[in-house]
Symmetry: D2
Subunit: 288 residues, 4 copies
Amino acid sequence: MSENSGTRATLLVSCPDRTGLVAALASLLSDHGANILRAQQHRESLNSMFFQRIEFDCAGLDISREELESLLGIECGRYDMEWKISYGDQPKRVAIFVSKFEHCLSDLLLRLRIGELNCRVPVIISNHPELKSIADANGIRFEVFPITKENKQDQEQREIELLNSLEIDLVVLARYMQILSPTLIGAFSNRIINIHHSFLPAFVGAKPYHQAYERGVKLIGATAHFATTDLDEGPIIAQDVEACSHRDSAKDLVRKGRDVERVVLARAVRAFMDDRILVNGRRSVVFE
Amino acid sequence: MSENSGTRATLLVSCPDRTGLVAALASLLSDHGANILRAQQHRESLNSMFFQRIEFDCAGLDISREELESLLGIECGRYDMEWKISYGDQPKRVAIFVSKFEHCLSDLLLRLRIGELNCRVPVIISNHPELKSIADANGIRFEVFPITKENKQDQEQREIELLNSLEIDLVVLARYMQILSPTLIGAFSNRIINIHHSFLPAFVGAKPYHQAYERGVKLIGATAHFATTDLDEGPIIAQDVEACSHRDSAKDLVRKGRDVERVVLARAVRAFMDDRILVNGRRSVVFE
Amino acid sequence: MSENSGTRATLLVSCPDRTGLVAALASLLSDHGANILRAQQHRESLNSMFFQRIEFDCAGLDISREELESLLGIECGRYDMEWKISYGDQPKRVAIFVSKFEHCLSDLLLRLRIGELNCRVPVIISNHPELKSIADANGIRFEVFPITKENKQDQEQREIELLNSLEIDLVVLARYMQILSPTLIGAFSNRIINIHHSFLPAFVGAKPYHQAYERGVKLIGATAHFATTDLDEGPIIAQDVEACSHRDSAKDLVRKGRDVERVVLARAVRAFMDDRILVNGRRSVVFE
Amino acid sequence: MSENSGTRATLLVSCPDRTGLVAALASLLSDHGANILRAQQHRESLNSMFFQRIEFDCAGLDISREELESLLGIECGRYDMEWKISYGDQPKRVAIFVSKFEHCLSDLLLRLRIGELNCRVPVIISNHPELKSIADANGIRFEVFPITKENKQDQEQREIELLNSLEIDLVVLARYMQILSPTLIGAFSNRIINIHHSFLPAFVGAKPYHQAYERGVKLIGATAHFATTDLDEGPIIAQDVEACSHRDSAKDLVRKGRDVERVVLARAVRAFMDDRILVNGRRSVVFE
């Protein structure tokens, strides 16, 4: 989906459900020469909210992007729609946060190199220097912000400034072993994806694989979710599991878990790149 | 999805892709008070065909069903669309064909009893008498048509007559151990679902679990597909697998496979009940 | 594994680990003509306990079963082993507890009919009369013990007496919607298998599918475990999951979950029938 | 399992089944102070062959490794056993063959760096120069052997010489896009692991993902197997699948398949490192 997306645009909307929503946007777009390639809707019965993703080809547009956005603003205003448009020729800009574990980082960079992810990575940020060589080998800037209890607020402020100056769209916490403060989370609301190494809500908090080992579960998992100020409670984007057994030590679970973490995090990042995620309170809509 | 479907209708369309298709039908429906609950599209790049499923609520329709269908006929005609409409208050009518294995039949009947499948089963047809007691316990008519090389043509003719007289929408081959003739298949084109006990196209033909055992595969599977005159070659609707190992004898594979067969067949039947399947040559579109 | 088990025996042992354990039992058995068909060991690093399962063919035994057991008692005593022996020609006796949901019960009975489970089911016990017809159709005694706060202790006492009089080896709680008292649990320690409709330890307690829906998880699961006095905390025997998405209502999760519950419960019951489960505190060893 | 394996040894044996095999080796080992950590057996009913893997701790051995091997030679001779012993402090030596796709190579090197695979990689061999920088970044020798129809025999001869001079135990074909000649395959019989990008035996030969797309399967897979002179027919070591749908283009299948290829190949290589694979004709025994 990420590939060959030169003339593609994606429109995400959400609003209280009412009759005529699908027709309204479909008509607006096709009236101006946009060819709808894919349209997905979801109506959440829990709170009667409506969510839609429309992927369309701009090649035949008879108006400019600015004019289209202006028309969308008017139409969406009529329906109290929140909306967001993205263009395939404007890849998102991603900052990856890491600590000492390299598996998620290396996996994302591999996917980037072979063209699986339509994005740019202007910076890798860490609280430790260990993974610098990986950033170097990929020609990516690597910034170390050591965090202590005393300097945390200042360091995060500097991180926010760096992220803003680099026009970052998404922060990926690729096994970053620091809890972000509400300030940083608030600055990138629903734009920070974390990978938690358990099948949430089982085993919140520290050392989930050891918790899993002691509980004797027969599957271990990983969860990618948006970071919120409630730790491990943000909207879940992707989850997966792997079978385990009595034979697996806690160390084996850590090893098996790494494979799940990698795949689940990449799936979530890819969904964000493709503008397939909408947040609905504690739940997320992730179109395929 | 099958539940509470009293005022729901589902429209399935397919046609060569062109601009405006999504808007055209969305507008027609909403102009007449239909609330679109879910709309799914697919554009097949292989042959530039467009497929759409629209699920809508008829409660607010300001015209009759007949009038709606008449308008749809005109609109779909303009776009060379093939189309089909179903109503939630008109459950489909299903005939189940079996031989001697009961697991798929019992599984389907369990799902029917507990309300998972929105359909009627007016008849179970078999070439053997063994499973009559199961039909009896569920209060379903059971007809035995013993098949020999000599009588096959006649028996199938009688079966077709029975199916027609009962206004059957779908034939389910629930481990029916007879190859259907082109006549019967042609009479119910894309309306016969078969469960093959392998991960097609691996292990076509007879005794797939024994083939799988000898080949030493590490996963066994099952495939639900529309029956066509090319044996085991019809459009695939659903597939799944289960892990196996050197410890599993051919008999173990048969046992493990039964669980996969049941789930896969039920998934395909349910997709048909919900009007989520469209056929595109050798491939199928199965909306979620 | 359950099949053709006429002359098979299975020995389960557990003890503190030390050198020579594997050789000791293997020698004893083969010295008396037992052919070891399969031997599985596990050493738990957590507490240095050793677990072993030996499946052997008794056909060539040059001593009686009683003599063998007497020798095993002596040998196992030397190593502080707990041990238990079972014979394939003495199928276990199972009581199934149900309430109003039939899917787990019907699934187990299907497996019983087609020979997947090497056991007898002398009784189905329920706190409601609804599922009597299913018991009847399978020719199994059905006993109703309505439970109220007032009569619970008495009714459970009567249940224990019935279970004992029928020489029940295993109690299966097939979606039995009553919490068992410590008395009943204590009377069948590590011999009561419950199916919980979530991926434990996520969503303990009531209405787990609704909890899962509200939390927005992307997988739902089921867990078979031994019932203990700590609700939902007993040793886990089997778990599995199924993918879900924003499209699934709580009702859809209930439906999808039924398939997982059935498979997971059957897997656990089968493991018990085959004497493949050993308990190690909160964890279980489940040999394949 | 690979970790902390300093004093561990692993014995693999296979022979025609007969009474006393398990006891014979267990006694020999424990008589000389070896502590058996894990013992796994398999009896193949197809041909009455017996397979065993014994993992033991050498720390308490009261004889030398050479003396132990000498005693094993005598004992195994009595039972017509083929046998092989490995020591945890002698990591296997692996050559990785690649062409232009980097995903399997990068994945294996990541696992090597973070200690998941207990092996050495003295050389990466390719028929193309493209992936040299990855070898360089990991400090591994990279040798290019361009292959043409004319020079194939000579180049392979040079490869064999290089592999022998480096004392290579295992060749991994990590998406190496050349068919090996019988000479090379014969020189490393059951020591060449290939990853085929389909769920074998479905889609043998070229472009399996495109075949899968055209057939419209709902799962795509990958298979790790020993390379034999019958292309895609060698004993299967590991397989896995990933769900796909009508939405996936052939290009999407290629992308999804990469994840499966990586995991399946790593699983097979790890099993080889841990001496868990035994070959039985067209089938393999892979202990967990």
